[in-house]
């Protein structure tokens, strides 16, 4: 049963992602990627990582994909980039080679005798709870830092998408800047 699920989802994920990578249609690519993300969450559920699966669906399929969708509309993908690839051979060789090499190693068994789980999954506790306990003890600091990171990302997003970036003070002459400031204050006054 598990095997069937694994292979099914594996084939689907690979197919979806491949389509994401290969498709020249941005919209299809986006859709297939969203599908792939959902498949991934299926693996998480398979692996008893329920919390992760939920997060995956919410964050990726919800938030990230929405962002991409907005982006796509913004960038007007109808006149999308014509991707004239010059060196498909290189790309393919490299990726196939990488896969083969890594798989070569991965087919070796892990000689893990001394591994003891640092944070064993407690029996009988639902996954989200267990995750929560670890997250808010051991991984509190990373969690907080991740919060900071998100804050940074937020600031970055705001700053960059903001109106001020339309004109470059870096490239403007001092007089122009003065003029601009004047205009701004005037605007405020008029408002």
């Amino acid at each position: 049963m598990e095997a069937i699920a694994f292979y099914l989802f594996a084939v689907l994920t690979v197919a979806m992602f491949s389509y994401t990578v290969m498709s020249s249609q941005a919209l299809y690519a986006l859709s297939s990627m969203a599908a792939g993300m959902i498949m991934i969450s299926a693996f998480f559920f398979l692996l008893n990582a329920d919390f992760l699966g939920v997060v995956q669906i919410i964050v990726y399929t919800g938030a990230v994909m929405a962002l991409y969708a907005f982006g796509m509309m913004f960038f007007d993908t109808t006149r999308a980039v014509k991707e004239h690839n010059t060196s498909k051979v290189i790309v393919l060789t490299l990726s196939v080679l990488a896969t083969l090499l890594v798989i070569t190693i991965f087919t070796m068994p892990i000689a893990a005798e001394n591994i003891s789980a640092a944070f064993p999954e407690p029996a009988g506790v639902e996954n989200p709870k267990a995750v929560g306990i670890v997250l808010f003890t051991k991984y509190l600091v990373p969690f907080e830092v991740a919060a900071v990171m998100l804050l940074v990302a937020m600031i970055a997003g705001i700053v960059m998408a903001g109106k001020k970036m339309d004109r470059s003070l870096t490239k403007m002459k001092e007089e122009e800047i003065a003029m601009m400031h004047q205009e701004e204050t005037q605007k405020k006054v008029t408002l």
Binding site: I90, L94, L101
Partner: protein
Amino acid sequence: MEMYLYIALFAPFVGSLFAALFGASPKTLWSGVVTSALLFASFVSSVTLFVYLLQGGEPIHTELMTWMATGNLYIPFGFVVDQVSATMMFVVTTVSTVVHVYAIGYMDHDKAFNRFFAWLSAFVFSMMILVMSDNFAGMFIGWEGVGLCSWALIGFWYHKESATWAANEAFIMNRIADLGMLIGIFLLYWHTGSLQYDVVFAAVPNLDTSIVTLMGIFLFVGAMGKSAQFPLHTWLADAMEGPTPVSALIHAATMVTAGVYLVVRANPLYSLIPEVGYFIAGLGAFVAMFAATMALVNRDIKRIIAYSTLSQLGYMFVAAGLGAYWVALFHLMAHAFFKALLFLGAGNVMHAMSDELDPFKMGGLYKVMKWTAILMILASVALAGIWPLAGFFSKDKILEVAFSSEHYIIWAVLWITAGLTAFYSFRLIMLTFFSGEERYKEHGFHPHEAYKFMLWAMAPLAVLAVIAGWFEQQFVHFVTELLPTFEFHTHHVEMMLIAVTSLMAIGGIVVAVLLYRNGLLNPKLQQTAVYKLLFNQYYIPKFYDEFFSKPYAELSKIFWKQVDLKVVDATVDFIATTIYKTGEGTHTMQNGNLSSMLRWMVIGTVGLLVLAVLYVKRYDILALMQMVFPGLGA
């Protein structure tokens, strides 16, 4: 007595400095007079010292100051006046005083009068150092010093290409020989621990013969250069480019005999190695003849005399080489007088003929230049070795030495050379002063006799050329206090030898007089191969030019243009440009395209992965290889 020593040594130096002060200014008579006066003082001091020694005084040995001292090496400025150096000092100061006085007249019209005297006196100073030094290093100072002065004086008229060329040739040739001498000095130092004559000569008998032989050879190489022995002889004839007083002083009487002096001075060393002595004697005999033959046909009065000098130096080396050191010294002294006289006479002729040197354009000058002619004939007779003039005594002694030591071939060569000597001397005399017609008129010359005081200045030389031989016994007695005596075994044939030699000389004179009595010989003679060979100095200068000078210059050019620039430097530049070119060639991988930047990152990773897998799976891969190619072995 030390005072006299220092006066004798430094008076010429002071004179030289005095003249040098006015070196760049126009002629001042004073510079000539003062230098001559100072030289005269030097002469007087030398004579005083000579007499002092003659009266049985102890040799004087002084040390002025330290020159070099490092490690075990200790070289002082030390001077010694013993019988040999006193003789040399006497000869040097005498001739140079005469030449100085003479040159006041000779250089009368020259712009660089003062410079001339500065150099001339400097030369005398160097020569005095050479002969008075008590060690080999000091001798080397003088050795090189005379070389320098000779260079400056040969190239005195430096606007003449030929003069400067000859000067450089002389200097460089001498340098080649000096290297030999330097090596000789090194040998002496490392085997005896000193360069002082007394220490060295005391130590050499205890040394291995092979070492002493080496020392003898290398020192003699030095002597060969200075005394212009074959094959380093070519510079002497070319050196005639210098003013004639220079030729008289340097290239006849003093400097060129330095080689002989060296051998005589180093007699304790050379007497240990008779084989080298024989070689020296053999070479001397060869040069005597070789030079004489070239003198036979030459058409330049100074060069004829120069070859004659060369020939006579050969004689001296024969004597020195065979161990008859006093004989060599005796001939050196006698030769100095008459050869200087001969040159000064030639100088008079040149003066009269506006620096014309070709005797074929002269003839009949006797009428205008009687005294000069007389002096020159006197000198030539002395040179030819006619009794009772100086040459007779000294040269015959050398022939006797050769005969006595049973080197009959050498004797025979010298004997024939005696005839040749007489012949070319009188050929010169006949062509210049007699031979009937007055050819110079065709060329528009107006000869005149030289200044009176010049003639008077020559007089002492003339006197010495006549009488020097008469004091043979006293001389022998005097110098053999220092030098070994030479045992003659020829008493039974002595008279016969003298007779044979004299006949030869007289024969030469007679032939010359008869042949040239009526002027020039048949010009067809000049077409013969022998004549050409002799006239071109056996093609030796040409040979040197073709096989040494030109290849050296060519090789230098090749070294510079091909090797230094195109190999050595280019290698360095090549490394630099290769690095730079590599940069230029590869920095395009940074093409600014994000895709390729990403690809580079992946390439790097995959590359490392390949290495990793190869490393991890190396045994498997090896096994696989062995399976696929079983022949490879383990």
